[in-house]
Amino acid sequence: MVRFENVGLRYGLGPEILRDLSFQIPAHSFQFLTGPSGAGKTSLLRLLFLSLRPTRGLVKLFGNDVSLLGKDEVGELRKRIGIVLQDFRLLDHMTTYENVALPFRVMGRAESTYRREVIDLLKWVGLGERMDALPPILSGGEKQRAAIARAVIARPSLLLADEPTGNVDPTLGRRLLRLFIELNKSGTAVIIATHDITLMDQYEARRLVLHQGRLHIYE
């Protein structure tokens, strides 16, 4: 599904922050991406989400060499990827329901075909009572859950999550992890970037550890 070969990344003329990354993300796989702050976890997620292009090396995503992709093709591939960012990126003028339903809306699907699914998922992540609330009045944890729900609602082939349990209590963290596991069981490859050792200890999965720009894989 994803293949990196000798990938390097630098911002401008700065030092290389990711060096010689070579790994594969198989379909239906589950892995944690971890490492100290500043190790390049977010940059690697951005490479996987096609919002950055590598400075060198080969990145293949769903069988496509990303260096050859046009803008429209990038958009099409992104429809197969769900992403949860640390800053949530919810739209403030839309209700929680509307934010979570946004991927379906962009796809042009009729609301009647997904409304039940969106409401079920919101209930599952504990936002059943906050469907009509606007993001500015949601707490940090609620925003995070809404962002996760938006990323998983369309059941993407690949889910990227950057510190998805950073703002929630341990109980809800476990519940969200269960959601990711369920999603993985239904066929989505999941990459969770996290510092949370407790979270990683709760589920036996492959660990990708970034350290000083290099990647170490623990199967």
Binding site: R80, E98, V118, D120, A154
Partner: protein, 323 residues
């Protein structure tokens, strides 16, 4: 998106926890909020531009129509001047020339001005109350040409010169040429103003679009995250700009159409004043033909379309930058 996803069944089983669907949970918010686009300022700019463009076009149409009317009036008559010469009877010369002109084919009507009428023509230059008896005032004969007829001016000139050698014929060709040049210059200036108005509209709309995109950058980024293509995003913004352009075009074009609709009445208020008379001389009755109103309406729609196109072009350029 993932076509296989729909076949995987529900993502999680809520069992007895399945909630009642709240009535309010629906997509009601626009993806791009209308309030985030500086709409009023843009509507005002487009309305003003459309109004100016419509006034320019309407004025050009009026001048062209008046000029065509003058040209057809002037071209349908010739003026013969009989100058007094010592030793000749001017009245007899005038009668002879009038008869000779009447005998020419293509002449519909001939009218010789009397001495008093000819003298009256000089009043603007010489003033009133002056005795013209002792002055050698030439006499004017006006001949109307049968519509569509081509007059042989050389033959006419030769035949009347045999009657009175001191005559001269003026077919107003020089005047018509000047009128044509003036009307052409007005049209040219009008087109120039229209182009400037359109360019100013495009620049204003481009700035407004860039401003709107900058204000909505977070929305654009999120739409990119959820897989929306540039065309989808641009269309969300374009709907706003097309509506703003149509609103502006409707207000500006409507105001201009009303202005021309009432211009006849407004001109009536100023009739008899020097300014009113000058405008009446230049623009005739101020009344625009029905086809003129149609042109103004089409122009308003065109400016709305230009607004949308300029916005679309800027949208795609800005989306490239954001990505």
């Amino acid at each position: 998106m993932n076509k296989g996803g729909d076949q995987r069944g529900v993502l999680m089983d809520l069992g007895k926890e399945r909630p009642q669907v709240p009535a309010k949970a629906r997509n009601v918010s626009p993806i791009v909020p209308r309030g985030s686009i500086a709409g009023r300022a843009l509507v005002a700019v487009v309305a003003i531009m459309t109004f100016l463009a419509s006034i320019t076009t309407g004025t050009v149409l009026l001048v062209r129509a008046s000029a065509a009317e003058w040209q057809s009036d002037v071209a349908s008559e010739i003026t013969i001047q009989v100058r007094p010469v010592t030793g000749r009877d001017l009245d007899r010369d005038v009668a002879g020339v009038t008869a000779a002109i009447k005998a020419q084919p293509g002449i519909a009507d001939v009218r010789a001005f009397t001495k008093a009428e000819s003298g009256k023509l000089l009043e603007p230059w010489l003033g009133t109350g002056l005795s013209l008896d002792d002055l050698p005032v030439p006499r004017v004969i006006v001949a109307r040409i049968v519509p569509g007829a081509t007059l042989d001016l050389a033959a006419l000139d030769a035949s009347i010169k045999q009657v009175a050698p001191s005559v001269s014929v003026d077919d107003h060709r020089a005047w018509i040429e000047r009128m044509r040049t003036m009307s052409g210059a007005t049209v040219f200036a009008g087109i120039g103003i229209l182009l400037l108005v359109i360019i100013a509209t495009i620049i204003s709309v481009s700035f407004a679009t860039r401003g709107a995109m900058a204000a909505n950058r977070p929305i654009v980024e999120v739409l990119h995250f959820v897989g929306a293509g540039d065309r989808y995003i641009a269309n969300r913004f374009l709907q706003h700009f097309l509506r703003l352009g149509l609103e502006g075009g409707l207000i500006g074009g409507g105001a201009a159409i009303l202005a021309f609709g009432f211009s006849e009445s407004i001109a009536g208020w100023f009739s008899g004043t020097p300014v009113g008379d000058q405008f009446a001389a230049l623009l005739g009755t101020f009344s625009l033909r029905p086809s003129g109103y149609l042109i103004l309406a089409v122009q308003a729609v065109l400016i709305a379309a230009i607004t949308a196109l300029a916005s679309r072009r800027t949208l795609f350029a800005t989306l490239d930058d954001i990505d």
